[in-house]
C-alpha cells in the first residue's frame, strides 16, 4: 500500500522536476528561466488540474496517468513543432474554490497555455471560468455531467467523456422492452445525478415504462440500508442508479451482500474503472463505459502494454476509461496543435472543433467526432456487466453491446449551449 504513495510522490516530484528543468519553476526566480531557454526553443507548458484528494482523488490520479502518457509519447517523438512539452500538476482537492486558485496559478504564475483534467463537474466549471477569462484552452477529460456540454459549455472547453444522457440512450429502451416497465431511480443528490436521472426518466417514459419513485441519495452516503428497504417494499422491475464515485462502491457492496443483485435488475449509469477496481467483487447490474482494456480491437493490447510499462507500481494494474479519456484528450490536442502548425488558441480550437477520429485510431467500435456546437466528443457507448468467465483478475467486464454516436447523441444539448464568437476569445499563444 505504501508503494502507491511513493508513486504519487514520484508523480509530484516528476512534475516539479519537469517544471524546473523546463525552466519555469518561477518560485526559484526568473533567472533560471533564461538559462534553460537558452538551450532550445521555449517549451509548451500544460497545467494538469487533477484531483489527488477528496471524493475523486483516485480517479483524478488515474486521469493524470493517461494524460502523462500522451505527453511522454509526443516528447519521445521529438516534441511538438520542434518544442518540448512540459507540464505541472497540483491537487485540486475535488473542491471548486481550489480549482479556481490552481487555474489562476497555472495560467498567471506558471505560464501554462492549456489546462487539462477534470472529474467533478463543479471543479470543471470553476476551472472553465478562469480559463475562459484568459482564453486558455481547457480539456474536460472525465466530467460527465450533461450540463458540461449544455448550459455550461464554453468555446475554450472540450468535453471528452460520454455523459449521462448518452448512457441512458444506450441502455434504457432495451431494458424496458426486455426486463419490465416499472422503474425506480436511485439518484445522487447533485447536478450530475439530477440531469442523468432526468435523461433516464425521459427515455423510460418514451419507451412506455413508468417511474415509480426517484430516491435522492445525499453525496457521501455510505449506508444504503434505508434505500434498499424502500426498494424491496416497492418491488420495481428495474432500478436505475446515477450514483458516483465512492458512493457507488458502497452501494454495490451492500447490494451484493444482501444478494439483491438478481431481482430487481440494476442499471448503473456509468462506472469508472478506478471505482470498480477498488471493489471488484461487488460489481453487479448493467452499466455503461466508453472503453475497456480487453476490447477485441486492434491497438488496444499494445496501448495497455505501453500504459503498464509507464505505470509499473501504480495502484491500478491496467488502464480504464478514466485514464483512456485523459490519454485520448491529450493526444488529440497535441495532434491538433501539430496540424494547426501553431499554438495560437483560436487556431487550435478550430482544429479541435473539426476533429474526426477513426474507430481504429480511437480503439472503439465506431468513428468518433467532436460536435462543434457543444464541444463534446461523440463516441461509442458500451454496456457491460460482470464477467462470469474472466480471463484474468483484471477481466471484470463482459461487454454486452455497443452503440454508435448517432444513436447515443444528446440532441437537446445544442439548444442549451451558447458558444461565444471567436473574436471574443482573448488571444493566447506560447
Amino acid at each position: 500500500m505504501k508503494r502507491h504513495l511513493v508513486s504519487r510522490r514520484g508523480v509530484l516530484k516528476g512534475s516539479l522536476m519537469a517544471s524546473v528543468i523546463g525552466g519555469t519553476g518561477s518560485f526559484f526566480g526568473p533567472w533560471q528561466e533564461n538559462r534553460a531557454f537558452a538551450q532550445g526553443p521555449k517549451p509548451i507548458k500544460l497545467g494538469l488540474t487533477c484531483d489527488a484528494s477528496g471524493q475523486y482523488g483516485n480517479s483524478g490520479q488515474d486521469d493524470l496517468r493517461g494524460i502523462k502518457m500522451a505527453i511522454d509519447e509526443s516528447n519521445a517523438e521529438g516534441g511538438l513543432l520542434g518544442r518540448k512539452i512540459v507540464w505541472t500538476t497540483a491537487d485540486t482537492e475535488t473542491t471548486p474554490a481550489t480549482g479556481s486558485r490552481i487555474a489562476e496559478r497555472f495560467i498567471t504564475r506558471e505560464d501554462c497555455t492549456i489546462l487539462i483534467g477534470a472529474i467533478h463537474s463543479g471543479v470543471a466549471n470553476a476551472i472553465t471560468q478562469v480559463a475562459a477569462k484568459y482564453g486558455v484552452i481547457y480539456l474536460n477529460t472525465n466530467s460527465s455531467a450533461p450540463s458540461e456540454a449544455g448550459e455550461n459549455c464554453s468555446r475554450i472547453k472540450f468535453v471528452w467523456d460520454g455523459n449521462g444522457t448518452n448512457f441512458s440512450k444506450a441502455s434504457v429502451k432495451n431494458a424496458v422492452d426486455s426486463v419490465g416497465k416499472n422503474w425506480m431511480l436511485l439518484t445522487n443528490d447533485y447536478v450530475w445525478g439530477h440531469t442523468t436521472a432526468a435523461a433516464t426518466k425521459a427515455q423510460v417514459e418514451g419507451a412506455g415504462g413508468k417511474i415509480m419513485d426517484n430516491l435522492l441519495v445525499p453525496q457521501n452516503t455510505r449506508d444504503f440500508t434505508a434505500y434498499l428497504l424502500k426498494i424491496q417494499q416497492a418491488k420495481p422491475d428495474v432500478v436505475a442508479t446515477a450514483i458516483g464515485g465512492d458512493d457507488i462502491k458502497a452501494l454495490r457492496e451492500q447490494v451484493a451482500q444482501l444478494k439483491l443483485d438478481g431481482k430487481p435488475a440494476w442499471i448503473n449509469n456509468q462506472q469508472d474503472w478506478p471505482d470498480v477496481w477498488g471493489a471488484p467483487d461487488s460489481l453487479f447490474g448493467v452499466f455503461g463505459t466508453t472503453w475497456y482494456h480487453k476490447l477485441p480491437l486492434p491497438g488496444v493490447a499494445n496501448f495497455v502494454k505501453k500504459w503498464q510499462a509507464a505505470n509499473k507500481d501504480g495502484p491500478i494494474p491496467v488502464p480504464g476509461n478514466v485514464s483512456y479519456n485523459g490519454y485520448m484528450a491529450t493526444r488529440e490536442l497535441l495532434r491538433a496543435i501539430e496540424r494547426a502548425g501553431s499554438t495560437n488558441n483560436v487556431r487550435i480550437i478550430k482544429e479541435l472543433e473539426n476533429l474526426k477520429i477513426s474507430a481504429t485510431d480511437r480503439m472503439q467500435h465506431f468513428d468518433a467526432y467532436m460536435d462543434p456546437a457543444t464541444h463534446q466528443m461523440q463516441q461509442t457507448i458500451y454496456l457491460a456487466r460482470r464477467n462470469a468467465k474472466p480471463a484474468d483478475n483484471t477481466d471484470l467486464y463482459e461487454i454486452i453491446s455497443w452503440t454508435g454516436p448517432k444513436a447515443a447523441t444528446d440532441e437537446a444539448a445544442a439548444a442549451k449551449c451558447k458558444l461565444v464568437p471567436y473574436d471574443q476569445v482573448p488571444t493566447v499563444d506560447s
Partner: protein, 347 residues
C-alpha cells in the same frame, strides 16, 4: 490590540500608524509579487480572507464566543452577490450591500437561537446551523446551482458616477479589494474601540458582571454575531467576484474550521492584527508548500498543535511582544486568560 488597555493612544485614532504602514506595503504588492514567485490572484484571496477572518474575530476574539460554523455567512454573501447581479440589478455597490445584508439577516436569525447559550452548547449550535445552511446551499439547485456552483458571476465595474473602473484585470481588482479592506480595517478598529465594543469586551470578561452593570447581554451577544456575519458576507461577495462564481464548499465545516485555525495561529485572541497574520501565513504556506507536497495540512496541523501548547498568544502576540518589549510571559498570560474566557465567559 483587543486586550490592550483602552487608554493606549491608538485606540482613539481612526487610522493608526500600523494601519498606514500595512496599507502602503500592500499597495506595492503587485509590483513585486511575481518576482517572489507568487501571483496577484493570491494577493486578492489573502486580502478577502483577511477581511473575513477579522470579521470572524469579532465573535471569537472580541466577544469570546466560540463560533465554528462561520463559513455559512461567507458563502451566503457570495451567493447573494451573484443572485443580486443576475436577478435584481447589476450594480456593484447594491450587490455588495445585498451580500452583507443577506448574511447579516442569516446571522441575526441564528443569533436568536444561540445567544442565550454558552460554551459547547453555543459552539455546537453554530456548527449545526453551519451544516444546515451548507446543505441548503447544495440542495437549492435552482437558486445556487448546487455543487456545480453559481457560475458566470461578473466583476461589476466600480462606478462612481463621474468615473468608472473596470475590475476584470486581477491587478485592478486587487487595488479595489485593498481599498475596501483598508476601509473595513479602519471601521472594525473603530468598532472594537467604541463604547459598544467595550461592552462586548466586558461581556467576554464576565456576562454576569456586565448584566449587573445594566447592559443587555443577550442583545449585545446577538448583535455582534449578526454584525460579524454581515461583514463576513460582504467578504463573501468580494470572493464571488474573485472566483467569478459562488460554490458551497466554503460553507463546509472544514472551511469553517480553517478560519478558526488561521485566526488562532495568527494570534487573534490577543491582537487585532492576529487574523491578518494567520491568513497570510496559511494561504501563502498552502500555495508554496502545497505545490511540493499533498500532505501540507500535516505540517500545518503540527504547527497548530505546537501553538496551542506553547504559544497561545499566537504569532501576532509574539511579534508585538518583541516590538513593544513587553515581557513575553505577560502576553502569554493574556493569551491564556483569553482562551480561558472563550469557554468560561461567565466565571
Amino acid at each position: 490590540m483587543i486586550a490592550a488597555p483602552t487608554n493606549s493612544p491608538d485606540a482613539a485614532r481612526l487610522v493608526t500608524p500600523a494601519m498606514l504602514v500595512l496599507w502602503l506595503v500592500l499597495a506595492t504588492v503587485p509590483l513585486w509579487i511575481a518576482r517572489v514567485g507568487l501571483y496577484p490572484y493570491l494577493g486578492i484571496e489573502i486580502l478577502i480572507w483577511s477581511l473575513y477572518a477579522l470579521a470572524f474575530n469579532l465573535v471569537l476574539g472580541t466577544a469570546g464566543l466560540p463560533s465554528f460554523g462561520h463559513g455559512a455567512y461567507f458563502g451566503i454573501g457570495a451567493y447573494a452577490f451573484g443572485l443580486c447581479q443576475f436577478d435584481v440589478v447589476a450594480n456593484l455597490w447594491i450587490c455588495l450591500a445585498a451580500a452583507a445584508v443577506a448574511a447579516g439577516l442569516a446571522g441575526a436569525l441564528v443569533a436568536l437561537f444561540i445567544s442565550h447559550r454558552r460554551g459547547i452548547y453555543y459552539a455546537f449550535m453554530t456548527i449545526a446551523f453551519g451544516q444546515i445552511f451548507w446543505t441548503l446551499a447544495i440542495k437549492s439547485h435552482r437558486l445556487t446551482g448546487g455543487e456545480d456552483g453559481l457560475l458566470k458571476i461578473r466583476r461589476l465595474p466600480a462606478d462612481f458616477g463621474f468615473v468608472s473602473f473596470d475590475l476584470n484585470d486581477n491587478v485592478a481588482f486587487y487595488y479595489f479589494v485593498l481599498i475596501v479592506f483598508a476601509i473595513g480595517i479602519a471601521g472594525l478598529w473603530r468598532l472594537v474601540h467604541s463604547p459598544y465594543g467595550r461592552v462586548i469586551a466586558a461581556i467576554r470578561q464576565s456576562e454576569i458582571r456586565a448584566a449587573h452593570l445594566g447592559y443587555n447581554v443577550w442583545l449585545h451577544k446577538a448583535s455582534i454575531f449578526a454584525l460579524s456575519a454581515a461583514v463576513s458576507g460582504f467578504a463573501g461577495g468580494l470572493f464571488a467576484m474573485a472566483q467569478l462564481a459562488a460554490f458551497p464548499d466554503v460553507m463546509s465545516l472544514h472551511q469553517s474550521g480553517y478560519v478558526v485555525m488561521m485566526t488562532l495561529v495568527g494570534g487573534g485572541l490577543v491582537s487585532f492584527w492576529g487574523p491578518v497574520v494567520g491568513v497570510f501565513l496559511f494561504l501563502t504556506a498552502r500555495d508554496v508548500i502545497g505545490a511540493l507536497t499533498n500532505a501540507w495540512m500535516l505540517y500545518f496541523g503540527l504547527l497548530f498543535m505546537a501553538i496551542v501548547l506553547f504559544r497561545p498568544e499566537g504569532i501576532a502576540g509574539a511579534v508585538s511582544a518583541a516590538l513593544h518589549q513587553h515581557s513575553l510571559g505577560a502576553l502569554r498570560e493574556r493569551g491564556n486568560s483569553a482562551m480561558r474566557l472563550l469557554f468560561g465567559g461567565g466565571r
